[in-house]
């Protein structure tokens, strides 16, 4: 345990030496976390309470859901442990000190095992707890359920950690650690994207709608998922389900299964570690050659991307494009983006307009209007990952920009324009395709295209500006950049902006649309009001374009490196 003391002191010092303003940030973050936690609890409680009202099937549904939650957690935990253990066992800076000191490899394994569990599982545990507590509350479970929960969760976290660390050690034995990281990131993302798309296409919401199935037999068949008595999530379910329902079961047996497997996992892991870790750690420090940098095709592609930009802006765009496409953890995120877009557009194909009570064309245009806001949110979700980190990605090399004769204003606008163009392309594809699937009127299509065009400027400016106001130049992985306070501020600001635009446009668009659809007449005073509303929309967009860039510029100039 003494090997974990630097980590403990690091965390303690971080909290005891907060800079001015950090306290407020922590409070806001804690409140947001708490709100999300309460939201999760509320939703789980509501869903489970609803299930319990369905006679006969209710408990079955609830336990089925528990099984799905546990298998999801288990899969996420295995993957998360593989990724985390790559950092804790192979890439962490303290390893040089640890491995050059007279500490047995077994001791290093145990310390790193605890560190890996803490790093990989805390989020799953925090988000899982409100769900498990909601189960307890809805089923009015006794204290035995909560005791069983704690006793089952500990080995339930240890088993995937042992598996994950084992996979990592074998992977790094085959590839150098940095290459293994690339392979893992890519495989992980592809896995996630495939599962996500599959999940959407299967439409799990049908499970709570028995009417969607012709017969009860088909419904029950759909309810039966992939169950294996050899998986730890099944054992955890066998511990929790009887305790929830106060029914008889082999609780003790399955608890012992969990604990003995976790214990065996640690022992076997330490044995494997003693044999392969040192050699694989040594391999992990090997470099690799730059294959991509020598490809002429890649060079031409990068030059083509940067062609529309002038002077210094072009060289910044060229540099950023190269850095992006040479970093697997960056470009592989494009798969997520494609998945997000496919699922979004696919959802429009599923809308049951034919079953609606309202006239279909009216509903379609109403939804197309709401679609404006949704496309804004999807664009924001993409921007928080790709645009918000634009400044932070300069990382520790930011001194090069700061010491060069390049004004921060030019630098920031270079980031803006290079982010805006791809984002505009994406948001316009989204709005045009989704509106085309909705078969909306040309007027609504026009409104959508123009509004999204304008909003994308604001969304990009908010991303670049707030990214510059809250930069994070020290990071291990680019995906960490938007997860801090700045990322949350950006999401909230973008939602406020998109919400304002949609609300301000709602009334004039409704008036014009209604007049067109029902051959109504708009008096001159009505046009004045409509014009004022559109002017306000324009003003909000101009404000969203200029203000964040101004704030970002000021904060970045004041920042000391």
């Amino acid at each position: 345990m003494f090997l974990l003391t630097p980590r403990y002191h690091g965390i303690k010092n971080r909290f005891s030496r907060l800079a001015p303003g950090d306290g407020l940030k922590s409070v806001i973050l804690a409140l947001l976390g708490l709100a999300f936690w309460a939201f999760l609890f509320g939703v789980s409680f509501k869903v489970l309470s609803y299930f319990r009202t369905i006679e006969g099937l209710g408990d079955l549904l609830a336990i089925r859901l528990l099984s799905m939650v546990l298998i999801t957690f288990f899969s996420i935990l295995v993957f998360s442990n593989v990724v985390t253990s790559l950092s804790t066992f192979y890439l962490s800076g303290e390893l040089d000190i640890l491995l050059s000191s007279p500490v047995p490899i077994g001791t290093v394994y145990r310390a790193k095992f605890v560190e890996t569990i803490a790093d990989s599982s805390w989020m799953t545990l925090i988000y899982g707890l409100p769900v498990f507590i909601a189960y307890g509350a809805v089923f009015k479970a006794s204290a035995a359920y909560y005791a069983g929960l704690v006793l089952a969760l500990v080995p339930f976290l240890m088993i995937p950690a042992a598996i994950g660390i084992g996979i990592t050690m074998l992977l790094v034995s085959a590839f150098p650690a940095r290459r293994a990281k690339d392979v893992l990131v890519l495989l992980g993302l592809l896995f996630f994207v495939a599962v996500y798309i599959l999940f959407r296409m299967l439409r799990p919401e049908k499970l709570v709608d028995p009417d969607a199935f012709p017969t009860l037999v088909q419904y029950l068949t759909a309810m039966r998922g992939p169950v294996s008595p050899l998986l730890p999530n099944e054992w955890a379910e066998e511990v929790l389900a009887p305790l929830l329902r106060s029914a008889k079961g082999d609780v003790l047996f399955y608890l012992l299964m969990l604990w003995s497997t976790a214990g065996a996992g640690v022992v076997i892991g330490e044995w494997v570690c003693n044999r392969v870790y040192y050699a694989s750690w040594s391999r992990s420090q090997e470099g690799r050659r730059a294959a991509l940098s020598r490809s002429r095709a890649a060079d031409r592609f990068f030059s083509l991307i940067s062609l529309p930009f002038p002077g210094k802006m072009r060289s910044i765009v060229l540099k950023d494009a190269k850095l992006f496409f040479r970093d697997t953890s960056q470009w592989s995120q494009l798969f997520l983006l494609v998945a997000l877009m496919v699922v979004y557009i696919y959802s429009f194909k599923l809308l049951p307009f034919e079953r609606a009570q309202m006239p279909s064309f009216y509903l379609q245009n109403l939804i197309s209007f709401l679609n404006l806001g949704m496309v804004g949110f999807v664009t924001t979700a993409i921007a928080v990952r790709f645009v918000f980190p634009a400044v932070s990605l300069e990382g520790a090399a930011f001194w090069i920009i700061r010491s060069a004769p390049l004004s921060i204003t030019d630098f920031l606008w270079a980031k803006f324009w290079s982010s805006l163009i791809p984002l505009l392309l994406l948001s316009e594809i989204l709005i045009i395709l989704s509106n085309a699937l909705l078969k909306v009127t040309p007027f609504m299509m026009g409104i959508g295209v123009v509004t999204v065009f304008l909003m994308t400027f604001g969304i990009t400016s908010l991303g670049v500006g707030l990214g510059a106001a809250f930069p994070r130049f020290r990071y291990e992985n680019a995906a960490q950049i938007p997860t801090g306070f700045g990322g949350i501020v950006y999401m909230l600001a973008a939602m406020l902006f998109i919400g304002s635009v949609v609300v301000l446009e709602a009334w004039p668009v409704y008036r014009i649309f209604a007049a067109q659809s029902f051959r109504g007449h708009i008096p001159p005073s009505g046009w004045v009001l409509i014009g004022s509303s559109f002017l306000l929309v324009l003003a909000v967009n101009v404000l969203a374009l200029l203000l964040p860039m101004k704030i970002g510029l000021k904060r970045l100039m004041e920042r000391e490196i």
């Binding site: 940098s293 540099k319 010491s403």
Partner: protein, 244 residues
């Protein structure tokens, strides 16, 4: 060429640099010495335009670094103590990128010349992430010299360099000074200061405690004919700490 007027930097209640005044004429190699935490890197960062002074000003080639930053930066080359670079660029790509920041026309021959000078030819098309610390340091030096600066601001130039690299850097700095380039250099390697620097300033606890030639400093410490090491220790109070 470099003029610091009452230059001050405070971090909260801590005064890192306390109203220092310095003047370095053209074509000099100027040594900036001081114990750890004395304010050397803070001063250098203010000269390079990376830190805003709390008070006073830094002038490079007559340009105020805060008021005319672009003009000052055009004639300055900066070499930081830690060579953080864009890891996913090759050495050539990195130098091209820097050349565009300095509006250089046709930088190709100059890039080839510097890659050759710093022994990086073989590594020209290799990603920076595969470079050793010393190689990165040499690449940073090449980038700082790319636009033929009039002032070179250097923080710990010899860290990570092998003896050949260190010798190369010394020769380059001497040659640069001979052509009128001003080199402002902070270092802990006192032999280099003795060999290269025309003048030296010692900073301690944020203030300049001595400046002049190496001989001037020896006289100030009442240690004529001494090497710089005992002189430095005497002036900074380090010899008392050692005796204790």
């Amino acid at each position: 060429m470099i003029k610091l007027i009452n230059l001050t930097k405070q971090y909260g209640t801590l005064t890192a640099v306390n109203g220092i005044d310095l003047e370095v004429p053209e074509g000099q190699v100027f040594g900036f010495l001081g114990p750890n935490g004395a304010g050397k890197t803070t001063t250098i960062k203010m000269i390079a335009g990376l830190l805003q002074p709390t008070g006073g000003s830094a002038l490079v080639g007559g340009y105020d670094v805060q008021r005319q930053p672009l003009k000052a930066k055009f004639i300055t080359g900066f070499i930081p103590d830690r060579p953080f670079l864009y890891e996913k660029l090759t050495a050539t790509e990195f130098l091209y990128f820097v050349s565009t920041l300095y509006d250089m026309k046709d930088p190709k021959p100059r890039i080839a010349e510097l890659l050759d000078l710093f022994g990086l030819n073989e590594w020209a098309d290799e990603l920076v992430e595969n470079f050793s610390h010393g190689m990165k340091q040499r690449l940073v030096m090449a980038s700082a010299l790319l636009h033929r600066p009039k002032v070179l601001v250097v923080d710990e130039p010899m860290v990570g360099l092998d003896p050949r690299g260190a010798r190369l850097v010394k020769d380059i700095f001497k040659d640069l000074a001979a052509t009128g380039v001003t080199v402002f250099m902070s270092t802990h390697t006192l032999e280099i200061v003795e060999q290269m620097c025309t003048r030296v300033a010692i900073i301690n606890r944020g203030g300049i405690i001595a400046q002049g030639s190496v001989e001037d400093l020896a006289r100030m410490a009442s240690m004529p004919d001494s090497h710089l090491e005992p002189v430095f220790l005497r002036l900074t109070g380090g010899d008392e700490q050692i005796q204790r």
